[in-house]
Symmetry: C2
Subunit: 730 residues, 2 copies
Amino acid sequence: MAHGDGLKVVGKRVSRLNGPDIVTGRVAYADDIQLPGMLYGRMLRSPHAHARIRRMDLSKARALSGVVDVVCAQDVPELSIFPSEEVCYEGQKVAAVAAVDPDIAEDALELIEVDYETLPPVIDPAAAIHPDAPEAQVGVPTEEVTDSEGRRLRNVASYQVIEEGDVERGFAESDAIFEAEYRAPYFHQTYLEPTSATARVEPNGRITVWKSGQGTFTIREDLASALKVAEGRVRVIMTETGGSFGAKNRLILEAQTALLAMRTGRPVKVTMNREEEFLDGRPAPGCWVRLKTGARKDGMLMAVEGRIVWDGGIEGRGGASNRLLGPYKIPNVMLEGFAARTNKPTPGAYRAPGGPQTAVARESNIDMVARELGIDPVEIRLMNGLGAGDYAPSGAPLQHDWLRDTIRKAAETVRWGRRRLKRNQGMGIAVGDWQNASGQTNAFVTMAADGSVSVVTGQVDITGLHTVMAQIVAEELGVPVEKVTVTLGDTDTVPYTSLSAGSKAAYSAGTAARKAALEARERLLRLAAERLEVAPEDLAIADGRVEVVGSPEHTVGVDELAGMAIDSEEGPISGRGVLNRIPTYPTYSVEVATVEVDTGTGQVRLIDLVAAQDVGRALNPMLVEGQMQGGAVQSISFGLMEGYRYDDEGRVLNPNLLDYAIPTALDVPNIKTVLVEDPCELGPYGAKGVGEPPIIPGAAAVANAIYDAVGARVTEMPMTPERVVAALRD
Amino acid sequence: MAHGDGLKVVGKRVSRLNGPDIVTGRVAYADDIQLPGMLYGRMLRSPHAHARIRRMDLSKARALSGVVDVVCAQDVPELSIFPSEEVCYEGQKVAAVAAVDPDIAEDALELIEVDYETLPPVIDPAAAIHPDAPEAQVGVPTEEVTDSEGRRLRNVASYQVIEEGDVERGFAESDAIFEAEYRAPYFHQTYLEPTSATARVEPNGRITVWKSGQGTFTIREDLASALKVAEGRVRVIMTETGGSFGAKNRLILEAQTALLAMRTGRPVKVTMNREEEFLDGRPAPGCWVRLKTGARKDGMLMAVEGRIVWDGGIEGRGGASNRLLGPYKIPNVMLEGFAARTNKPTPGAYRAPGGPQTAVARESNIDMVARELGIDPVEIRLMNGLGAGDYAPSGAPLQHDWLRDTIRKAAETVRWGRRRLKRNQGMGIAVGDWQNASGQTNAFVTMAADGSVSVVTGQVDITGLHTVMAQIVAEELGVPVEKVTVTLGDTDTVPYTSLSAGSKAAYSAGTAARKAALEARERLLRLAAERLEVAPEDLAIADGRVEVVGSPEHTVGVDELAGMAIDSEEGPISGRGVLNRIPTYPTYSVEVATVEVDTGTGQVRLIDLVAAQDVGRALNPMLVEGQMQGGAVQSISFGLMEGYRYDDEGRVLNPNLLDYAIPTALDVPNIKTVLVEDPCELGPYGAKGVGEPPIIPGAAAVANAIYDAVGARVTEMPMTPERVVAALRD
């Protein structure tokens, strides 16, 4: 078993194995699937944020030549995949058409007649819960929560309270208190690849669905549930994912696509356009936050009190407030969390869900009390941050100083306090905390007679997971990584596998790959021991050969052993790793932004950004840096550019990439990544999950840098020039 | 573990799971593969059976618009996939073209100029080895064998002798001796699906090949060797096979297809037409046999002496003579086996390779000595046949009377000796012996939360193998077979798997499936034991539930356990079976034909055929019967209709399905199948391999029936009216 510093493949900058396929356009994405006799589906979508459906007439659409099927709620009363009486957000699917070509399907949409009676929309989450607000969906049950005057709040889908110590006493003991309101809008994962699904009903009645995403089995569960069929009747095959960031974790249009295939008996493909992605994808939720933070003059945080109202879309998803605490020891806490129903699509996951939105409030407040107390922002975070001897939010004792190490490395790298800044330039630091998930995963390893190795896993490859698995297998079996091929299984070919999400893919599937490889390795060593007439313990694997330790001239090729195994009684070398959850650790990201603010126009120029991250061990530093760069860009983008805008009727004003700004290469500054490697005990080779943390603190760091530069505290995301100018005026 | 008569799914008539896909035309065969940017390849083929290539000019073909590549030997001197100096059979691939459409590729072939100098062809295998025969391939090394006059034989690619006892003494002690010469022509497997391959070079340089056949790994080995690349650089994915019968076991056009893809950088598909199948497939070899058989007046066989010259095609494949012995105890043996090189394509495997050809000679001779001695043909076979207390050809002691049981059941079924036949009608019996193979195989089982089961195997599904695997897994896990899905892995996703050939697929992969299912079952029972608070030994699985034996009200659903497992620490239920060879047993087929011969025209009408087979245990009687029906038809067809015919220049006169006759439904009589079930010890549930034996004795039974009807012994296959008339005249 390979350990520590003797690593030969793990920890190296191995290029993503399918990188050439991706950059040469040879990867087949979901929309590239072509099946004989395939139909094209399109969705009729609500033009209103909230309306009653008075009448629908599909007859003209059905009569159009080339249209094979048109379906709405009344055709499938047993399913709940179309609304029958009320539309609750703009873009909601009202009916679906399947036709022999996509243009005919599009034309047919225009022939569907729907008579709507508009209803008042609920758009702002803070306003949504007001006792006088209209209902986002008429008559849907909500939580019983009342305001201070005892009036029942509206549209509250969930409500929770976190209370520790005594906040009143905490604030009484504080020497500096800062309180502010923060807002973040809905924002979108803006993956390159639009959502696409293709469904086919097999002659035996089973349904096969091709799509991209982050986990086949989750989609299978959801589809089986939406279509009211047994899971075993559904097969989900995942194509390469052209970006998802959490959005494609769950159903978007798969149930409607499969329904069209079931009704027509022909394969059906549906691909969304960019407007549909904005209107009916699974974007990140916005929120409204009021947060009050108190600290003693020595810098110790004494109390946090606050309320967060998540913009939960039509299903009222969310409600957690714990992320407002961050990685700090705070003795007195009182936090209320709400999920408000609004007339928007149900939000989905977006990389560290809730992380960036809450970091802005928390890290802004900490900076403000630090400044009031005259304490350095780095210092106050070092002082209050969790470290060795403390307990993680999970309750597990911490044995490392991961957070402080990461803050210090970030500060060192940026020469915190020693860098000379010009007028209207400023520097801000912010901290993000996370803990990677873990879940069902698997890896199967086998070795061919030429020593090449095949790995099969149900864990979807996002951001290079399969490359990392290949590295791990290559490491343990002593072969070059080029000889390892990793193939994604589907729901028919591998055991239940959880989502590649929650920063857990490399952590969990990497562990499964290592387990499978070690089983194969053990067999290799047994074969070599027989051949070389020594004990397996006396053998080592290096450079494609097994050799006797201390006597390297006694050696046999791994390929030769693999060939022998194929003809041996036990059969080919193989190894299996089938796992469930394994313990995980907290992990930290720290970003320092340097900005220049044009006090006339409010324009913020991000000069540079340092992103430091506590990664345990970087299994592939190049891929980890890629994650950090990508996450930092998304965080900056959330902070400075992104966000849905609505008109008074609740219609999205910017559902396209012209009006919804995301950074181009010119908008992104130099990002310097700093890997902080202090291996954890149970991750593969000491690694921690790395995908989500880098998106958390960037926007908060920029907000603190703006304040440092010009003394303006911007509390609403994105921090557009208008808002900066307004903050300067305050 | 399910045993014996308590079986609920194994042994039942379960319809082939993908039957509906096949009969509704929804299965994707190799030629259905479509890849973006794909080119179409065609092969230029030799019009001569034997010729020297003086000059080739590809320039005009290369200049044709739409042609992307033209390649011949001189372009790839490092490979041996095109001849550079000499063509050795009609239809041999001389050059390959890739073009944007198949018509342009075809046109380009006509623009390739080849200047040939014809050489004398070698067609008849008996003549081929004559010392004065021309060489089939100039200067190729052959075995050193001389004739009785000491002259060196020609074109002998292999030579072997089997000698036991003293044949001279054996014949001296015989009371009846019969000697004859037999001939069989080349004949073709005439699968419905023509050979097709599609190849693509991936951006990382690996080569993916889609094709149908009987084993992915064998094709990978052959391709890697032909293209001189490492095996790990090749991925072979097998589509549903529309018939193969051994022909598609090895390369036919895959190397040339892959070469075109490698040279052009684009996917290339090549599909053969029927003429190409005949000229350059891998048909069954013909042979020439001289066989002398002696028996004592009590019926005991005393001696066999003979010589077989296999028509080994240009590579001189074959040479074995052991099958001339059959399943009989014969004390004195002298057999010579030759493989002759001839100007024909290299023969391949065809269901029980060599079985039908040798059975005709052996079973005819036995019938003739029986008749001379006045002993019943059934009796002489029972008397001399191997049974309990004897040793199998493998040397293993036999503990069953499988052969005699099968002969008796066949004779009983046909009312042997008691059936009244009309004038010119006759009945003939013949026996075939075989021993199924075994080899590397695997199965991986996993269970979903709804109790549905997925099985993955590298073992290609021919004749319902995957259905049988599903039955076995369903049996052990107590679920209905409809809840089991079997998926074929490819060379990237499963361990090395041997061919689905040699009657071994259900025997070996069935054992692997059972092993995998038992591992999953063990886990199921452990989970149930925890849940029901009893020991696993006290539990039984029935109808989707695990129950406490003797207390069936204490029960838990298999689906519930599977769901629990997914969330448990050990993770989802899975099981693995990775195997190599396991011991196998001899197996027997006995066929009885009833014919009527028109003595004027020589026309033979097959009235009926009884096919009995020693199957150990029929895992799925319907599929076993299907195998027996199919094999019997092919055997009759070999005996009465099939065979390549050649002109004097060695060109095939009938390379198409108009001139090469195979039976239509009207040509096939009623075939009655008799399953003889006496389980063997080590096969799954006592099963033996069943695929090949039924093709062995049919033609021999017909030959014996013709003799019984009209006293004419036809010794050359097929037994056409002309040959029957000629035999009647002798």
